[in-house]
């Protein structure tokens, strides 16, 4: 009861203060953009061959920031895998999982989530989205499979942590190569239109932006799936012995 009273008081403070303030102080709401954003919106197709302004800023105009941010995410996942390293054998029992209704619904939902996440990632240079939301959505679909079916179902199909970490390493190497390759011709390190082709046979490729989105999608999805596989091992396997 006390919580409800405090909540109502907080909402009333917010509403009353925003009714009184425009009567006392004269406020002007903003109605036009600043000059730098107007430059980015007007010149984005001419400089980067990509009709989406946000993807052009993230991967081309300020591409070096994004390369460093990918490095930070990589180091965080490496730290997590170090804590949860388990080198023994899991007890192989018959997989149990939840009821038949949950399993049927999860099969349909997982296929839909995989399709939508691939569409978000591969069209990152044409529509809002990009590589990072696509990879997160695919990792959420895998985190849905683990409680509904059991973890042994996933391990028997060959989706082990070692393979996922290998996929992650290969895609991060590819990302580094796409950033470093223009140095061969004497250009700077994250260059888009002077080295990579913008169009290919009528398809809009936007140079290196579509390559970056594809590699980031693979790296993020496999990294978070490996973390989820390690987090699902029960606590009894870590006690005793020298697995601290």
């Amino acid at each position: 009861m006390k919580r409800v009273i405090v909540l109502v008081v907080l909402v009333l403070i917010a509403v009353v203060s925003s009714v009184i303030t425009p009567l006392v102080i004269s406020i002007e709401v903003p109605r036009c953009l600043r000059d730098l954003s107007r430059y980015y919106i007007i010149n984005t197709i001419k400089d980067t061959a990509s009709p989406e302004a946000v993807a052009a800023i993230v991967w081309d105009y300020r591409g070096l920031d994004t390369v460093y941010e990918t490095l930070v995410l990589y180091l965080a996942i490496v730290g997590g895998l170090t804590i949860f390293m388990y080198t023994g054998e899991l007890a192989r029992e018959t997989p149990v999982g939840l009821t038949l209704l949950s399993r049927t619904a999860t099969k349909i939902i997982t296929v839909l989530i995989s399709t939508v996440s691939a569409a978000i990632a591969f069209h990152g240079h044409l529509t809002p989205g990009g590589g990072f939301p696509g990879g997160s959505a695919l990792a959420v679909a895998t985190m849905l499979i683990i409680p509904v079916f059991s973890i042994n179902t996933l391990l028997e199909k060959g989706v082990t942590s070692t393979k996922l970490v290998a996929i992650r390493g290969v895609s991060l190497t590819g990302l580094g190569l796409v950033a470093l390759l223009p140095v061969i011709r004497g250009l700077e390190i994250v260059t888009n239109q002077r080295f990579y082709p913008g169009y290919l046979d009528g398809f809009i490729l936007s140079g290196s932006i579509s390559l970056y989105n594809l590699l980031e999608f693979l790296a993020v999805a496999s990294g978070f799936t490996a973390v989820a596989l390690y987090l699902s091992i029960p606590e009894e396997y870590y006690k005793g012995g020298d697995n601290a």
Partner: protein, 132 residues
């Protein structure tokens, strides 16, 4: 009239959420509750950054062209939202995710070493016994 009310309401709501989450970090004992309050705090700051690029025009659209000819440049320069804060917030969300997941792994390791999730008892146990 309604526009100024919405503008000041957004600013006061963000300020109240900021203060409630700082209360949650300082005064709550469980380490997991501190992590939840930290995520709410960083999300509030991101919305405040995007609020700095808000403009009040009638059809507000995302800054995306429909074709590659570039004929809509005049329409988009006056009616699109600001793309520069969106790029900065995208980087911020990724780095926040990395830091918060490392904090979550640290909470599990603290529970294994000391056996409690209470912040003050964990510090006392670690100071008395020491870490092997």
């Amino acid at each position: 009239m309604l526009e100024e009310f919405t503008f000041t309401l957004l600013i006061s709501v963000l300020a109240i959420n900021f203060l409630i989450s700082i209360y949650g970090i300082v005064y709550r004992r469980s380490l997991t509750k501190k992590l939840i309050s930290l995520t709410i705090l960083s999300d509030t700051v991101f919305v405040a950054i995007i609020l700095a690029g808000l403009i009040y025009t009638y059809p507000i659209v995302p800054p995306v062209y429909s074709d590659m000819q570039g004929g809509e440049a005049e329409f988009l320069a006056t009616h699109a939202s600001d793309p520069l804060p969106q790029a900065l917030v995208l980087t911020g969300i990724v780095i926040g995710l990395a830091t918060n997941s490392l904090i979550a792994f640290g909470i599990i390791q603290t529970y294994r070493l000391t056996g409690t999730i209470d912040a003050r008892k964990a510090v006392k146990t670690l100071l008395e016994e020491g870490v092997e």
